[in-house]
């Protein structure tokens, strides 16, 4: 029964969180956005004390059910592990192994140092929610989008507006490779040994393990009923049941309740242990029966996804794709306050990247900020009616109260490049940047000061520019725009 409740809840959480990463329309986030916000690390980074306290109390009461229900990477491993154990031969493939404490504590220390030191990308690499977000965004979302596009194709032919097409594009090669490697790594570990990742690498798992030792309810083996058949131990994906000594390593138990159902003698029950049963954790025996890190030769299949070619039917002029200009300072989304705040709070979970409908946000390839989002305007610009990224951000790294705040936040400023400007190169009137500037920061002035009737070129009022990129995106000059946005380290309200 307890196991069934756990599975039901886990499936609900897992599906909803996954859908958060798949739903590019941002509709689901209104209803289930909180599921991302109660993730441990995001809550911690958002200084969401209520949630953090709640999770601590939850763990102190029931053990690590966070790991078995709330954490999407945990449930994802359970799913893989379940498939891994489908064959009869592999059904009872687990066995007890002692904790790899040195490894897990050192990783935790590295993680904490990275977090405090503001090396967000390293922390993001280890954090389970972020890792899962990257996998979902990079590996699952394209299929979801393609599926949607097939429906959109048919909807269009049925004259329905229920579905619309969305663009699938590779947002960042390094992030894609990291997501792919994480996926393969986690897949192999989970397929073979269940929850190895959670109990040896995951820093959140390690933190919770300190609390779980003292949890009020826990699975307890009744040594009188137990006949040491080892069934529970062989069913334990955390490898934490020492059936010979009737002991369970509660620091690694994720309260999945599998052992309770596995035991044929009802010797295991989920309850508060009696005083006599509170035994110390067994001494770690120094035997490494299996290599914990499976060394696998991994051939990173770098998907050479070509930029989608434009349809040219001869009646239309060919349009060259825009290229990313070299920006001295990266552009961060409005609501991220400043570069330091952002680097410290962002877990690089890719949720904002998933919901950005304008193709603006993408993971950074810069080593310092690897996988954390940054903005660029070749595909679209930061539209005034949208603040989806701040709505979904679980950590408060991107935080806006309303659209007015966004429209008045200066995240960068436009820079004019004379050499590319169409009135000067093609000799025709333009002014598309000024026409679309939401703040009226661009004025058109005569290119020849002595002739007021001469073709007009843009003049930028940097004080009024918010850096939204409308000018850069809609500039007719290709592949490089004649006007581009340079980011600001410190955002400010104008």
């Amino acid at each position: 029964m307890l196991r069934k409740i756990r599975i039901t809840l886990a499936v609900i959480f897992y599906l909803m969180i996954t859908l958060l990463f798949l739903d590019f329309t941002g509709t689901l986030h209104t209803w289930f956005g909180w599921m991302a916000k109660i993730q441990f690390l995001p809550a911690l980074l958002a200084l969401n004390l209520g949630v953090v306290l709640g999770l601590i109390v939850l763990t102190l009461l029931f053990g690590r059910i966070y790991c078995s229900v709330i954490c999407p990477l945990g449930v994802f491993q359970d799913i893989i592990s379940w498939f891994g154990g489908r064959s009869k031969k592999r059904r009872y493939r687990f066995s007890y192994s002692p904790a790899k404490n040195i490894l897990r504590y050192s990783i935790l220390i590295i993680f904490l140092i990275a977090l405090i030191g503001g090396i967000g990308s390293l922390a993001a690499l280890l954090a389970p929610y972020s890792a899962y977000g990257r996998i979902a965004q990079n590996l699952f979302a394209p299929f979801y989008a393609w599926g949607n596009n097939v429906l959109a194709y048919w909807a269009e032919r049925a004259d329905s507006y229920a579905f619309y097409e969305t663009e699938v594009w590779l947002k960042s090669v390094p992030t894609f490779i990291i997501a792919l490697l994480t996926f393969i790594f986690v897949f192999i570990l989970a397929w073979r040994n269940g929850r190895t990742y959670c109990n040896t690498i995951c820093p959140v798992g390690t933190i919770l393990s300190f609390l779980a030792k003292w949890s009020w309810f826990k699975p307890v083996i009744d040594s009188e009923k137990c006949n040491s058949c080892s069934l529970c131990s062989r069913k334990c994906k955390s490898a934490c049941i020492d059936f010979k000594n009737h002991q369970i390593d509660y620091s690694r138990c994720i309260a999945c309740m599998d052992c309770i159902d596995a035991c044929k003698h009802q010797a295991i029950s989920y309850r508060h242990p009696k005083k006599s049963e509170k035994a110390v954790t067994p001494k770690p025996t120094d035997q490494s029966r299996r290599s914990f890190l499976t060394t696998t030769a991994l051939v990173a299949t770098t998907a050479t996804i070509k930029a989608q070619e434009m349809k040219v039917d001869g009646g239309l002029a060919a349009i060259e794709d825009k290229k990313v200009p070299k920006r001295n300072t990266p552009i961060l989304p409005p609501g991220s306050q400043n570069a330091r705040h952002f680097a410290q709070h962002c877990t690089a979970c890719q949720l904002c990247v998933s919901v950005c409908q304008n193709g603006v946000l993408r993971p950074s390839t810069d080593l310092q900020r690897l996988m954390q989002p940054e903005m660029s305007y070749e595909r679209g610009y930061c539209r005034p009616e949208c603040k989806k990224c701040s709505e979904v951000c679980p950590t408060g790294a991107i935080k806006l109260t309303d659209l007015a705040e966004k429209s008045s936040t200066q995240i960068g400023h436009a820079v004019w490049i004379k050499a590319n400007c169409i009135p000067l190169t093609d000799g025709v009137a333009c002014g598309n940047c000024a026409r679309h500037c939401p703040t009226g920061a661009i004025h058109m002035i005569p290119s020849d000061t002595s002739d007021p009737e001469s073709l007009k070129i843009p003049a930028i009022d940097v004080e009024r520019c918010i850096g939204c990129g409308a000018c850069e995106n809609l500039c007719p000059s290709r592949p490089f725009s004649a006007i581009y946005v340079e980011g600001h380290k410190q955002h400010r309200i104008i």
Partner: protein, 462 residues
């Protein structure tokens, strides 16, 4: 400018008024005609299309009989992707269409060196070559829009013979006079001596009939027509339909004037845009109901063709039929033509009045403005806008009952009809397209207006 804005701001009350008038008018007609035999379930609603009933008109000069339906070769079916060498036309389909038209009495085929991205002449020539030369009349044009020089113009003239695979051209036109005013006309045909050259060619018999097609202002028309005494125009091609009769768009001249002037001089008229590039068959719902209720079995398009064909001075009515169904529908209308009655004329005049109150943009999808050097798909944007106007998907305020559905239909439909990079937001207003538009639409102004409207829709600031 301000007038253009007010045109789109049609209020709900006005809208209801228009719909109300048309439904009342048409429902009274409907009640009068509820007879009919319900027992004949197996009867074909529309019988076979007769092959020998096509209404013919006589060319006063040559006495030849021209079919009232002429085939416009501007909208041939295209391939999904261009062939090697660049051809974009589906030749098989063209052959089938021309064979079908020939079999049903259509003997006039009108093309131009610039149609269908420059491939129409060749394709039309291939299809016509399969028929005896004396069975058809072919018309083509001197479309020297961008390069006015004598050399280029003469080369263009000779290439038409090659492409069409003919020794003589039955009807040759100075293409789209009036675009760019009288100066452009002089530069294209007078100063380079091309008109004299063509008159010589007519004398030699290489051109059997010489005329011009016209889009533009009254002054240019009057001046060119005044040359009749000297040049002797054998025919003139004008834009005529029940909307343009009194309500020509932009600077263009109302068709009633054009036709009357030709009548005065006894010059046969060839009609183009009888359906306004399909705009007269894609009407707002309430107007479709109106037409359908007057003649439930007649197609919406047939009204426009009957209108154009009913004028006795019309030699032929051109229609750019892309699909066999269009061809069949038009054949039915003209085999034979049932001329409009006085009542019908009045009815169409009223329909035009109602239509005029509808804020569509007069784009006929002729694509003369294309390619836009900055990649904008101009006709697709204007057509999408018109489609939304006609379907009532142009919300004017958040308070509209159907605001949400209309907004979705407009925005999603926009992305479907026009790729993002070719949308109105990318129009820089260089104005290179303006002089090409035969309907004298101020394209950049319209695109910027539509773009602004879309911005309001997206930002929900209506």
């Amino acid at each position: 400018m301000s007038e253009k804005y007010s045109r789109q701001n049609i209020t709900r009350r006005e809208f209801l008024k228009i719909v109300g008038i048309s439904t009342v008018a048409s429902s009274t007609i409907l009640t009068g005609c509820q007879s009919g035999d319900k027992n004949k379930g197996d009867i074909q609603v529309k019988g076979e299309i007769p092959t020998d009933k096509m209404t013919m008109r006589e060319n006063p000069k040559t006495k030849e009989k021209v079919s009232l339906l002429g085939y416009g070769c501007m909208r041939w079916p295209t391939l999904p992707a261009p062939e090697k060498g660049g051809n974009v036309i589906d030749q098989e389909a063209v052959n089938e269409l021309i064979d079908y038209a020939m079999a049903h009495g259509v003997n006039y085929y009108d093309t131009s060196p610039v149609y269908v991205q420059g491939w129409s002449e060749k394709s039309t020539g291939i299809a016509l070559k399969r028929h005896p030369r004396e069975k058809f009349f072919v018309a083509t044009k001197l479309s020297n829009f961008s390069n006015f020089t004598r050399e280029n113009s003469i080369e263009m003239y000779h290439r038409s013979f090659e492409n069409l695979q003919v020794d003589y051209i039955d009807y040759y036109l100075l293409h789209s006079i009036g675009n760019g005013g009288i100066e452009t006309f002089r530069a294209r045909y007078i100063d380079n001596g091309m008109l004299d050259f063509l008159i010589e060619e007519r004398k030699k018999g290489k051109i059997r009939n010489l005329g011009f097609s016209f889009h533009g202002t009254k002054e240019v028309f009057d001046e060119v027509l005044a040359m009749h005494d000297k040049v002797h125009w054998d025919f003139v091609q004008i834009q005529l339909n029940y909307l343009d009769w009194h309500y020509a768009s932009g600077n263009n001249v109302n068709a009633d004037y054009l036709y009357a002037e030709l009548e005065k001089k006894q010059i046969p008229a060839i009609i183009m845009e009888p359906l306004l590039g399909g705009r007269l068959s894609k009407l707002p719902d309430h107007l479709i109901t109106r037409l359908k209720q007057r003649a439930p079995e007649a197609s919406v398009a047939s009204w426009a063709f009957r209108f154009a064909g009913s004028f006795p001075g019309v030699l032929t009515v051109l229609s750019g039929m892309t699909y066999l169904e269009h061809l069949q529908d038009n054949l039915r209308t003209y085999a034979p033509l049932v001329p409009l009655t006085e009542d019908d004329r009045l009815f169409l005049d009223q329909t035009a009045d109602l239509m005029k109150q509808y804020p569509t943009i007069p784009c006929n999808d002729c694509k003369y403005c294309m390619p836009c050097p900055y990649g904008i798909d101009i006709p697709a944007i204007l057509l999408h806008y018109n489609k939304c106007v006609n379907e009532g998907n142009l919300p004017t305020s958040k308070d509209n009952v159907t605001y949400r559905e209309s907004r979705r239909a407009f925005l999603i439909g926009y992305d479907r009809s026009v790729p993002r990079l070719r949308q109105a937001s990318h129009c820089i207003g260089c104005e290179q397209c303006v002089s090409h538009c035969p309907q004298s639409i101020d394209i950049p102004a319209e695109l910027h207006r539509i773009d602004q409207y879309i911005e309001q829709l997206k930002q929900e600031k209506l």
